[in-house]
């Protein structure tokens, strides 16, 4: 066995020394393998990207058409310096993959984000046998136990019907990549039209270019007929909550779809009319079941309740470790979205990155590139909203 572990955590991401590539790095690197297209896993500025083929268009849309992106289907393998890399369904969102890495018979799997329930939209999770498993644990507390999605969708459709009866617009909030498609494919279409925020519309267009079939939607524009909308349902991302854009739909009832809605406190903080417990992450039982199914000896835990979950896994006989990463999870707590500006002893602003436990970021060479990408993105967003 090599002196170094096959995969390790360093200041840029999850690194494979033998294969000289990173998985979901949070700082610019030469070769990046991407589990899925959410912003905390697919960052800007890498020289080469490898992702699942269904992430192709969405990555180009989010990171710029000029990125150097190679794709791979589930079950296919490529080799890098003797290291076999393959993708396997993670069931998190369309195009999400677990990354299996094998070298001289030793197997590691990086889960990315995953859920066990077949959501009917993306390819369902498949457990992969391995020696070491790097697992997310966003909802790694026993208080998080999901109900079958059909139950939640029945609730959503019932609420929508009631709003139509009461003459209120139905506004449903969920992340634009993943949650929005999952909701869209399970809405009771005969009730009314589905309207979308521009960001979701663009996401859907990217997915459709990739051959994904989605139910028809109408983009909300200033010309959209408000009376018609009261019979329909508007899908929008969390960033639109409380904005003038959303207030235009008055009178409306607004629902929030997220795993965090399982707790009363979180639900009340969002001040949503309705909180629907719907997550694209595994719940407590799901996490344990997934880990068991890998037959692994060692578990590394990223994002979420890593401390308590690793302690619990150790209690039940695993060699479990907390790993420090910068993943926030697509459903990260709201506090992660608005980092504080702090001043240091000289009164200078401390960058949020420096506050985090990992070493400082080397950003000198890439600032300009980042800037230009940011500009492009801003333009795109401006055009979309």
């Amino acid at each position: 066995m090599a002196a170094k572990p096959l995969l390790e955590f360093n200041d840029k991401g999850i690194y494979c020394t033998q294969g000289q590539f990173f998985i979901d790095p949070w700082q610019p690197v030469k070769d990046a393998v991407i589990t899925h297209a959410h912003a905390d896993h697919a960052k800007w500025g890498h020289q080469n990207y490898l992702a699942h083929s269904l992430s192709f268009e969405i990555l180009k849309y989010r990171l710029g058409a000029d990125i150097n992106l190679q794709t791979l289907d589930y079950g296919n393998t490529i080799s890098k310096n003797g290291v076999q890399i393959s993708f396997h369904p993670a069931g998190h969102i369309i195009g999400s993959a677990q990354v299996r890495v094998e070298y001289k018979g030793e197997v590691w799997v990086v889960s990315g984000d995953y859920k066990l329930e077949d959501d009917g939209v993306c390819t369902p999770f498949e457990p992969i046998k391995c020696h070491s498993f790097i697992s997310e644990c966003t909802f790694g507390m026993p208080v998080y136990q999901w109900k079958p999605q059909q139950f939640v969708f029945d609730e959503i459709n019932k609420w929508w019907r009631q709003n139509v009866e009461e003459g209120k617009t139905t506004v449903l909030v969920g992340y634009s990549l993943g949650k929005a498609q999952r909701i869209l494919q399970h809405l009771d279409l005969p009730i009314g039209n589905i309207y979308t925020h521009g960001v979701i519309k663009n996401t859907h267009e990217a997915l459709r270019r990739n051959g994904v079939k989605l139910n028809p939607t109408i983009r909300v524009t200033p010309e959209t007929n408000r009376d018609e909308m009261r019979k329909g349902l508007v899908l929008c991302p969390p960033s639109s909550v409380g904005t003038p854009w959303m207030r235009k739909f008055f009178p409306y009832s607004f629902g929030y779809c997220s795993g965090w809605m399982a707790l009363r406190g979180a639900k009340r903080r969002r001040a949503a009319d309705r909180g629907f417990v719907l997550s694209d992450h595994a719940d407590w039982d799901g996490l344990i079941q997934a880990i068991e199914a890998t037959n692994c000896e060692t578990v590394y835990l990223t994002h979420g309740y890593t401390a308590s979950f690793s302690r619990y896994l150790c209690d039940i006989g695993y060699d479990a470790h907390e790993a420090h990463t910068l993943y926030g999870g697509d459903e990260a707590n709201e506090q992660d979205e608005d980092p504080v500006e702090l001043v240091d002893e000289e009164g200078k602003v401390i960058e949020p990155e420096e506050l985090v436990t990992t070493p400082q970021r080397e950003k000198t060479q890439l600032t300009d590139q980042e800037k230009s990408i940011a500009l492009k993105k801003a333009k795109k967003a401006g055009g979309a909203v």
Partner: protein, 537 residues
């Protein structure tokens, strides 16, 4: 219970007042009278006595959930509510139940006769028949921590719309010393007041602040604009004691505090003067410590409020008096509709005749000719041991609840210091799993000394930012408390400051809260303990 649990979640599901009233009306129109009055009791803070120690509840829940105790504790700190934590952790119920709220409460009350083993089997069986929402509401009732996010006025509004009785009448009727076994829904709703409760107080009339925060300070001119002619107004000092209603009826004395707590026995010094008043008198005033003709700071009173036994020493150290400012009932007649100047005349007359003037005091009327006069006088509030002024319109009736217009409080601006946050703890309820409770420190000889805790004053956005900081800058963890890197400076406001032996810093603050996050300040610029000590009068 199903209907009650459903009511609770429906109320949770909406922020809109009208919707809440609609949900309440629907509920009240569909359940039995017994369930109605039990619901009303729960919603007005009349909880059944706690029959099972919450440690047992916890231990039995842990057993049933089959998880280690530490994981239960961690879960609790994430959820921030014991009843909800248990509801979420217990295995899914395989059977269901259909008992009414009244039956469940009767069963809870009957627990006092059971031994520990019997209690345990009753509780685990009960849990096994309930779904998550039922368990949550049931746990809240069982552990005596039932609170609902609906103001009393909304419940009154719903009941008033159902019954046709006015909300003032209903507010009055649900006050006082009743429980669902002694007071029926029919009694509550009948045309004539059916209560025989001689202890029953009137709803307090509460004033709004004329300036919400210190940075919205009002000038004399602005006061003139808002309130008009100063001759129409009566000004009194705003005393820093406990607002109380003192009652004598049928030769019995009752003292109610503003939180609707019957506290007669806590203030034995006030009984003789009350007994000497004409029967059928109700006074509104301030229970406050007094010595040498001078009101004492609130912390003197604080030392005795929590005590069960009032020892001779406590009575000697914290002598009570009652500063009366209004008369609500005279010779058995409700005179709340009389104008203030008439009620005041009755009060003054009663005081004149009293032989207990050292205890029964009148809140003096402060003379002023212009708002400018009063503005100047207000700056002297702290020397008078007052919190500012109460302004009452001379022709005002004594209204029910918090109403704008006729009564105002004009508080003195808070004192403030800049302090460094050094510890943080997670909050509860809406703030569960967020670091929202902070301890602040000031400098003393190069060290940061903690001197105050504060929970309020930041916006939700700021709380999220501080939480983000705390989670990434923890130095040490002590149970639920985290020591954080001293880096954030806040302006802490407080109403008063006194010496204290109980605090490490040697000072105790009255009502500390965060006024402002001073992102512009470095920790070296925070204030010193010496500066705090200099603020003590």
């Amino acid at each position: 219970m199903k209907a009650f649990a459903q009511l609770f979640s429906s109320l949770d599901e909406t922020n809109k007042t009208n919707e809440k009233v609609r949900v309440l009306k629907e509920y009240f129109s569909s359940v039995s009278d017994a369930d109605k009055i039990h619901t009303l009791a729960l919603f007005t803070g009349r909880k059944p006595k706690r029959q099972i120690n919450s440690t047992f509840v916890k231990v039995w829940a842990i057993e049933m959930a089959k998880i280690p105790q530490w994981l239960f504790e961690e879960s609790y700190s994430v959820v921030g509510d014991l009843g909800e934590t248990i509801a979420l952790l217990l295995p899914k119920n395989l059977s269901s139940q259909d008992k009414s709220l009244t039956t469940w409460i009767a069963e809870i009350n009957a627990l006092s006769k059971l031994n520990e083993e019997e209690k345990k089997s009753w509780l685990t069986n009960s849990w096994a028949q309930m779904d998550q929402q039922e368990r949550f509401v049931f746990n809240k009732i069982l552990t005596g921590s039932f609170r609902v996010g609906v103001s009393q006025s909304l419940i009154i509004k719903a009941l008033s719309e159902i019954s046709g009785l006015s909300s003032q009448v209903l507010t009055h009727r649900i006050m006082g010393n009743w429980d669902p076994d002694s007071f029926s829904y029919t009694q509550l709703m009948q045309e004539e007041d059916g209560s025989e409760d001689t202890s029953r107080p009137y709803p307090f009339y509460l004033a709004y602040a004329i300036q919400e925060t210190s940075d919205q300070s009002k000038s004399a001119e602005e006061m003139e604009q808002i309130l008009g002619n100063p001759n129409d107004w009566q000004a009194e000092w705003k005393w820093d004691g406990i607002r109380a209603q003192a009652i004598i009826r049928n030769g019995e004395v009752y003292i109610w505090t503003r939180g609707e707590e019957l506290s007669t026995e806590k203030f034995p010094e006030l009984h003789p003067f009350l007994l000497s008043l004409p029967d059928g008198t109700v006074l509104d005033g301030e229970a406050i410590c007094f010595a040498d003709n001078c009101p004492l700071p609130f912390n003197v009173l604080q030392t005795r409020i929590g005590r069960k036994n009032l020892t001779k020493k406590i009575l000697a150290d914290s002598p009570m008096a009652f500063i009366a400012y209004d008369c609500l009932e005279y010779q058995g007649e409700d005179i709340r509709s009389f104008p203030l100047k008439e009620r005041r005349a009755i009060l003054e007359n009663m005081h004149e005749k009293s032989t207990h003037k050292d205890i029964f005091r009148l809140s003096p009327v402060v003379n002023f000719d212009s708002w400018q006069d009063l503005y100047q006088l207000r700056l002297r509030s702290r020397e008078e041991n007052a919190e500012g002024f109460m302004l009452k319109k001379l022709d005002s009736a004594y209204l029910v609840g918090r109403k704008k217009g006729d009564w105002w409080k004009w508080k003195v601006d808070p004192l403030s210091v800049d302090a460094v946050m050094i510890y943080a703890q997670k909050g509860h309820g809406r703030r569960a799993d967020l670091y929202t409770d902070y301890t602040f420190a000031v400098w003393d000889q190069g060290k940061l000394v903690p001197f105050a805790k504060a929970y309020s004053g930041l916006t939700d956005k700021e709380i999220n930012q501080v939480d983000y900081f705390v989670k990434r800058n923890t130095l040490e963890k002590f149970g639920p408390v985290r020591t954080v890197k001293p880096a954030l400076v806040f302006e802490i406001g407080f109403e008063g400051i006194n010496k204290s032996n109980r605090h490490k810093s040697g000072v105790a603050l009255r009502f500390p809260r965060i006024l402002k996050w001073r992102k512009d300040k470095k920790i070296e610029e925070a204030d010193t303990l010496e500066m705090l000590q200099n603020l003590i009068i």
